[in-house]
Symmetry: D2
């Protein structure tokens, strides 16, 4: 991952794209790429999604959309001076606190509805 | 990152949430979290964004939204059987092909408009 | 509808909000409200959605999110100087051309896949 | 508007598309079309947006994306049995209550921050 982050930022800097990478437009881009990812599942029942994902070309395309979002997250984290992996680790710890195993097990409710 | 991925999946499995993690709803969640991230920048000019990000509490909140998206990307990649980091690496290589340094330098146009 | 459009614009002008209503931030707002609308259906199967919509309070909340999107569409159309209803009418005519009844009947495919 | 709503629903029924129009997928479609609308403004400063919108072709494309969202809102309101215009009217009244003129004038803050 460290290597990926370095590669993504080097890619940006070699093309002198940092000037375009203001946080607001990066956040817009993330929302737009998330929409393209979601588009892959539109108008499909869960069963149809499962079948579609057995097709290697479909899975590859889903993978490419996931990658687009990840690359933009790396860019945005850098643009606002945050450590992407460290931030996710902290968030996961907070989630562990909000969703204790014994209460959240097999339960899809939001934390404020858990008690 | 490997450790983060393992922790995210262990968190899910301890709560027996895999049953809820169908790819379509995970993709919806990613779009919704991306919207929450974008909300942090709404109604702000680029200058106002820069000022807001100097505030530690604001930056931390942006970091939490970024983390939410990353954690869901990890979950979706696992649900469809894809390697998140490997996929991003492949995509970055493809981007390097589509945006050659000499043509893309300082240029925000899309690859199909580059020449 | 004409009355609604006038009421929405009067609401905006009485509060002197036109200064904030630049098209880019209105488009962001539409995307964010669309996400809140989608959130109402998250983690639900089609059958669970149907049940949830029989609950009057749930339906009212969906209606409020739909209304939020419509009000913002009215504001954006005005901000860019477009006639909302006329534009939708023109688009519908174009759709009728792209999706001829005899070929599109009972068929969810996109127009470029119809032939 | 009444005429537009009738035309949109007739368009759907002539193609026997009602079977595909479950509320969840319509809400996904609205989010995706809202993303396409937002894409028109991506990577542009407010000043660049203003210039782009003086171009007739650009404005027409923005109008088409707005129309796509409106047509889907009409379809979703029908699918869940709600009156689109009536719902927006009710929401506007609620907004008038949440944002009293004297407190909200020239003020972009959210209602829960107003006092």
């Amino acid at each position: 991952m460290d290597e990926l982050i370095r590669a993504v930022l080097r890619f940006r800097d070699e093309r002198e794209w940092r000037q375009f990478h203001n946080p607001k437009d990066l956040a817009i881009s993330i929302a737009l790429e998330a929409a393209e990812l979601l588009e892959r599942f539109q108008w499909k029942t869960p069963a149809e999604v499962a079948i579609a994902l057995q097709d290697e070309a479909n899975r590859r395309r889903v993978g490419e959309e996931i990658a687009d979002v990840l690359i933009l997250l790396i860019s945005l984290a850098d643009a606002v001076g945050l450590d992407l992996v460290e931030g996710a680790r902290a968030k996961r710890h907070e989630n562990a606190r909000k969703y204790p195993v014994e209460r959240a097990r097999g339960n899809a409710r939001k934390y404020h509805e858990l008690e």
